[in-house]
Point group: C2
Chain length 322, copies 2
């Protein structure tokens, strides 16, 4: 429920890697320029559908949040899954994002009226370890002020966000694979590892534990969203490394490994797919993915993109898709 | 009071850059193999003295901590400034360090008896942001159990460490230039910046403020120690970047800039030199360094080492040394 496919050659390379294993994914609109009008969104969707090849896969399209008119939203409604809000400057290609939440409440009210979900990259511009926690008050404010607006806290990384989930009926969350596994220790505790640098940054051990516990029990308001985000190696192993992990090809094998380790395989389907279908009341195309415990050697590179767990052997591998 | 000069070609390149501006520096012994015997220490000192050229500069030599006999310490005493303790695996080349502090207390007792100062890299193996704070109990234990042992908390990075300084008479501290200026935000808040990655990692804004406040007032138990640590660029801009900033050539200009900004220039001499002379009761060779406000353009590289503030212009420059 949270995926970056980029554009052009990168999109063509990475789209099949998600489209193979998943029946659908919410496609992030933080391109340059952003996907903030229907014509651009439809062109982008067509490009993704061309890039996915023969795989059964529904790109769930998102508009980039700006102040929209009611006419724009009415025209867009049947073509979009939701609208994604970025605070200006919070992450990759978010310069066109929102500077003041108070100034865009008319659009929130329209989205509530028209039943359009709002997804938010919830970080302030504060100290890097505090940015999500500082944003929680804004989530609470919006959830309370717009009680019929379906709000998703995107890629949550803290125990505090998990705890907020239960406070407001209209508040949901996605969580990535990597935030269930890594902490800041893995990024900067030994040698510095740019391949594990992401936004929001991985937090403390107690945060990771709370996220993992919620995922393993398939907390009914929590949805898997890989946030798989490819960057060429030249933007990762350098001075000024970009934020994002490319997890798409290893998501399912790693999730099966993780849920098996914690005797929670019975909750995996709900976490990966069922919760999202119920929360957003949609049905993706039918797809059965079978994994077996026979080992998957993760390639060192996909083109010029280094995947998460590059060079590792994951016990589980996808062996058939139907 | 805390400097890395390395060995071989790197030592030959970086030694003059400190020896020019400073009359003396404590030389870290975490080489491979470590400087843990008098013969190796004397050879290393001779190499440094050869590399410093015509500059007036005293290398203040340190032994790498291990269990030493009284005979070894008696023989070493007049040749060393102190002994540096690393917890095993805490930082670069510390694999030969101490696994259990309790197991080496005989050596602490001998050092106390013989008046040999103990310098400690005080970090546990816990979560990266907590490692120094978790070690403070060990500092307190040692300071209390060996009240005549002169202990330095090396390169402190937290408000808690600053506060501990006042609790034990025999406890002192060094602080680097960069920990007075940067926080984790500068390392990982925007793009990831490997050139600002160091150990201990830069902490929170309130930590930086406490360190800076103590430095600006020339807290009598706090000494400047640059911890300048050169790594070739191939070990910084890569996957698995090494920890350390090369600050030697910009220390004095940056300190003058910083203390001037805070109207604290009258405390700079004590912070950089006076406190250390009083605490350790020694007199370095006489040296007068004059700085003028006429701009220093920091080179992009010194050989294959990228310095702190590479490419920036610092308002102050060293203009004469006598």
């Amino acid at each position: 429920m949270h995926l970056h496919l980029r554009e052009g050659a990168m999109m063509e390379r990475v789209t099949p890697l998600t489209a193979e294993h998943f029946a659908g994914a919410i496609i992030m609109p933080n391109l340059v320029p952003p996907v903030d009008n229907l014509a651009r969104l439809q062109t982008y969707r067509d490009e993704i559908n061309a890039a996915k090849g023969a795989h059964v896969f529904d790109p769930l399209m998102m508009l980039f949040f700006r102040n929209y008119t009611k006419a724009e939203l009415l025209a867009a409604r049947e073509h979009i899954f939701g609208i994604k809000l970025y605070p200006a400057g919070a992450t990759t290609n978010s310069e066109a994002g929102v500077k003041e939440l108070d100034a865009v409440e008319d659009t929130f009210a329209l989205m509530e009226e028209l039943g359009i979900p709002l997804m938010i990259h919830g970080e302030t511009h504060g100290f890097v370890m505090d940015r999500e926690k500082e944003f929680l008050a804004s989530y609470a404010h919006l959830a309370e002020k717009f009680p019929k607006l379906k709000i998703t806290m995107e890629h949550i990384t803290t125990r505090d966000a998990v705890e907020l989930l239960d406070q407001y009926e209209n508040l949901h969350a996605t969580v990535t694979l990597h935030h269930l596994i890594i902490t800041l220790d893995d990024v900067a505790g030994g040698l510095l590892n740019p391949h594990l640098f992401c936004k929001p940054i991985a937090k403390r051990p107690e945060d990771r534990e709370a996220l993992l516990a919620a995922a393993l029990q398939a907390h009914p308001k929590l949805m898997f969203g890989s946030d798989s985000a490819p960057h060429p190696i030249s933007k990762k192993e350098c001075c000024g490394c970009a934020a994002g992990l490319f997890t798409a090809p290893v998501c399912l094998p790693t999730l099966v490994e993780l849920f098996e380790q914690h005797d929670a395989l019975h909750n995996l389907q709900a976490f990966v797919s069922g919760n999202a279908q119920r929360i957003h009341n949609f049905t993706p195309p039918a797809k059965t993915v079978k994994l077996e415990k026979r080992g998957m050697l993760v390639p060192e590179r996909y083109g010029d993109v280094v995947p998460y767990r590059a060079g590792e052997t994951i016990p589980w591998a996808v062996t058939s898709i139907s």
